[in-house]
Amino acid sequence: MKRLSVLLLVSVASISGLAVMAYADPVDDTLTIDDREMIIRAKAPKGHPFDEVLSGWLFRESETRATEADSFANPGMLAVERGEELWNTVDGSMGKSCSSCHNDASATMKDVGAHFPKWDAKARKPVNIEMKINDCRTERMGAEPYKFDAEEQVALTTYIKHQSLGTPVQIDLSEGEMQSWWEKGKELYYTRTGQLDFSCASCHEKSMGKFIRADHLSQGQVNGFPTYRFNTAGMVSLHNRFRGCIRDTRAEMPKAFSDELMALEVYVTWRGTGLSVETPAVRQ
């Protein structure tokens, strides 16, 4: 209850903070969460259009940044708690929970989220945490797969990603056909869509650091997902964010977990190589 009132105060403060647009550059600041310093600036991998990759945290208002830095105030931590509950809940015909096979997530899932998406030899494509969860549910629990953006899917993904808090993002492109998915993702990143004719690069590369209306454009990094958003007072999954950005170009949106969005996830995740996982990050 106490937490709830703190949350309300914080969210009101951050909404009114939107009216202030005194700066246009990413801030010069450090981020420490649970006594651990996050890597929020990293040298870009070879072949990257930028010299330095920057966490989206650096582009947010001070209230939003402060909320993320304080796990007690971060509303996204409620999703982590909910995810932990689901981790230990038996579901499906085989009478199992995630913990029946994986035991204590803080040990077995430590750093795992920092290395997804991963090549899946059986599916012959890259999979993300959400797909991996559904795979376990159908194959090993005899449970229904979660529907895209089901509250449980987002909470469990948040919980698993949170076990990598602070760990640098690093995906393995040498596995299977990851490299060709990366290429496909890169092509999509630079393809202009919709009536407004924007590509991802129009906003997150060419206009990075600028304001589009009241929004301070970041590099569009994925290291904080799922994120908590004040605007909608809830968690936002990565494919939800991708779809939202594509919708804003006035284009038809690809389906969540479609080949297009998986290729994009592989490529955009690579663009954030070296940044700490910040899940659950806080955004306005």
């Binding site: 202009r192 869509t193 209306r213």
Partner: protein, 153 residues
């Protein structure tokens, strides 16, 4: 419909004025960064143009441009140069060309959308396919407003 009937009924040379038909998006000619003819055959309304420019569902020009005379509107972006004094830098015909299709004026690389062109991105939302962002009338209204942006106003 009424206008069309009038035209059939009278000799073509008498009709041309009344029938001044809109120039369709794919018929607009951009020569040397200029569209000299009004898309509607008439001068636009600057006051309406200011509304189209600010409206998020129409021009939404403030998403990217600062326009100081419209300071009462919230949140002007800075993706692009301020439009203050833009009529000192560009003629009316050039401003029309920029609004019609900035790619054919600046370069393919520009992030500014083409407001009166069908040469846009892929997978356009179904209900918008074949439609331009602004109508010919709205383009003319915006151009009329832009031509008022002179000096340090």
């Amino acid at each position: 419909m009424k206008r069309f009937l009038t035209c059939v009924a009278v000799p073509a040379f008498l009709c041309s004025q009344a029938a001044a038909v809109e120039i369709a998006p794919d018929a607009v000619k951009i020569d040397e960064m200029k569209v000299s003819q009004s898309l509607t055959g008439a001068t636009g309304n600057a006051e309406e143009g200011a509304k189209v420019l600010a409206n998020r569902g129409l021009g939404n020009c403030l998403a990217c441009h600062v326009v100081t005379p419209l300071a009462k509107e919230q949140f002007h972006g800075n993706v692009a140069p301020a439009l203050d004094g833009v009529a000192d830098r560009w003629s009316e015909a050039e401003l029309r060309a920029i609004v019609v299709d900035a790619k054919r004026v600046f370069s393919e690389e520009t992030v500014m959308p083409a407001f009166y062109s069908l040469d846009v991105g892929i997978n356009v939302r179904k209900d918008l396919a074949g439609k331009t962002i602004l109508t010919a009338q709205q383009v003319e209204d915006v151009v009329a407003y832009l031509t008022t942006l002179k000096g340090s106003n």
